[in-house]
Assembly symmetry: C2
DNA sequence: TGGTATTTTGACAACGTTGTCAGATGTTGA
DNA sequence: TCAACATCTGACAACGTTGTCAAAATACCA
């Protein structure tokens, strides 16, 4: 025969309102009133209840409370990120946590690892937990799980990348303009052969930055050379390899636009290996810690992940507070940070 | 008159088992059995139920289920970190998430910002949510909130820093040995004046690394000079200022031990400002991204946050599975990564 | 003093689910 | 054909809380 304890179950039940009520010699409802600070409890009873609460070490059971409450709220939201350990994601996370805290809401966070079915699974799990809303960096195109969530009329806010879901808010960085500015910046320093190194072309941000690159070239009257465009560089090895290939091929670029911070880092690694870091211009998309300590200091198009996160969270809570306007795209501007690597002139390179 | 919708409540209730049961023309209990894959439901009924579930878009309500279940589990754990956006914390977070996923458990994460009362508040909130267990980077010394949690016989595992709570597991890096190794390493390169720059002395890790520094000096027969020891450098400005002071004072150090990664970065910034980065030896505690791309490349004592997190999470789930042995201290070794900055000789400096 | 208005309190059902147990149905063997 | 048994199924209570509403206690007024 096995007992509960044998199975490793939590056998010691926390005290309940019932026990508090018994000790204070009042009804459960009175205890409930005291805890929820509802008016109309005499100071005398209230004190007796509080005393009993202290004595028993009672703690309110939020889940049971939420189950009964009429508004169907759980005071939790879900957050689906690429990877909680990625600096961009974790900066978002922090900003969202801060807003959620102000709304007495807890955050369930998960990493999708860019896998649509992980995203899907997480979304369904969170739906089972009845989270009040969702903030998502979307991976999948179909959003099957998310659609089901939407059907319950619960808000979803997309962040960093938009979704095909009609009528959902998205909070995005201005990827296209940012990329275009980066290209034009290097063109202004005299570069005519500017390469593009991008992430998985299926990612919306990668595609937008590529479009910005093309726009930037067009605006400065430069020719687009397909040999200078590399997509799908989703691992550091692929980045290094692509960079080296660019410089061993005939007619190499004199400037590089790196479409994402991990790509920027891979490029720097490769340039150091090639000994070219002082001769090739480089602007990366998305800032990263220590970019200003490298030699040369790395110029980047900076996003503002904290602002993206804060905006997304505020949007979500506005929806939860009843805001019913149609879904919007909110675009947060980017900023070119001039530090040195983007201002290297072509003359440095031969 | 205001309706529910006006108040922004989630008015559309998700379908319940009751509705599924009605549609499939069976009892609620049968629906429950199908969902929980309990044996003894005829294939025919089972199919009818599944059909109804699909038709209504039913999703199991985990919270209601957990409330009723006998084992008192919510399949959630709480995670209290310094700051989810800090790379060390977020690496821990990711490793813990992965283990939790394997146990079909969701993680509530919060940032304490090194404030004891934030930690306290978070702990109480998580207790209200009836999380099954807690993983904590502790801030406070008293652990009032955590103690109450422990009283419910729910496991807590401390990570990175131990707690005064008797009988709780801690998973720690070998701070003292790591620091000692760093000091001895630089001493072996001929340094006799090695400075210590540390974090808030109230933090256990900072204190341990300081002890390791002292031990390292003692083991190499070097004199401890209090003028070379700086504590409480909890902001980048304080670090830069302290570094500059060290080098403007008479008899400056020829080598630096930085007790934490943000401190290391501040030191590098200051050394660059002073133009001393190639002349002063530096070993930092805790690795950071790009340490190997700076010039000189930065030697560090690396911790393994992913392993710390994984170990802590596995410990927690072992407890939840009924493991009843006394609380343990598990120490994860550190590793000296030789990259260049720690191998600069005193001769470079005059 | 009696009657009404007001405040305070508690009994009970309900939230959505699962545990318990008894009843219904079907199967087997003599 | 009937008892004995195994298999399926459902009624009901329970988990810990809050919403509803009526009862009890108190205050107020003529």
């Amino acid at each position: 025969m096995t007992t509960l304890a044998d199975k490793g179950n939590l056998v010691q039940r926390p005290p309940t309102m019932k026990e508090v009520a018994a000790l204070a010699n009042v009804s459960i409802k009175t205890v409930s009133r005291v805890i929820n600070e509802e008016p109309g409890v005499s100071p005398e009873l209230s004190e007796r209840v509080l005393q009993a609460i202290r004595q028993l070490g009672y703690h309110h059971n939020t889940t049971a409370s939420n189950l009964r409450r009429a508004d169907q709220r759980t005071a939790t939201i879900g957050l689906l990120l690429d990877d909680v350990a990625n600096p961009f994601s974790s900066a978002l996370h922090r900003a969202i946590e801060d807003v959620a805290n102000q709304h007495d809401t807890l955050v369930f966070t998960g990493s999708s690892d860019f896998e649509a079915d992980r995203e899907e699974r997480m979304a369904l799990t969170l739906m089972s937990r009845r989270v009040d809303g969702l903030i998502v960096m979307p991976v999948s195109q179909s959003h099957i799980g998310l659609q089901q969530f939407k059907q319950l009329d619960r808000p979803i806010v997309f962040v960093d990348r938009p979704a095909n879901l009609y009528d959902a808010d998205s909070v995005l960085a201005d990827n296209r303009v940012g990329a275009s500015v980066a290209v034009r910046h290097m063109a202004a320093y005299g570069h005519r052969r500017i390469a593009f190194l991008g992430d998985l072309h299926t990612l919306w941000t990668a595609a937008e930055r590529h479009l910005g690159y093309i726009e930037g070239l067009a605006l400065t009257g430069l020719q687009l050379d397909p040999a200078l465009v590399r997509h799908d560089l989703h691992s550091i090895n692929l980045v290094e390899q692509a960079t080296i290939e660019l410089f061993t091929a005939p007619n190499p670029p004199s400037a590089l636009f790196a479409g994402q911070n991990l790509i920027t880092i891979g490029v720097i690694r490769a340039l150091q290996r090639l000994g070219l870091q002082q001769q090739v211009a480089l602007v990366g998309f998305d800032d990263f810690p220590l970019a200003d300590l490298l030699m040369p200091r790395v110029s980047v198009v900076a996003q503002d992940p904290a602002l993206l996160g804060k905006t997304a969270a505020e949007r979500l809570f506005a929806r939860l507070d009843g805001e019913r306007s149609p879904g919007e795209r909110i675009v947060i501007p980017t900023q070119l940070l001039i530090r040195g690597s983007g201002e290297i002139t072509p003359s440095a390179f031969t």
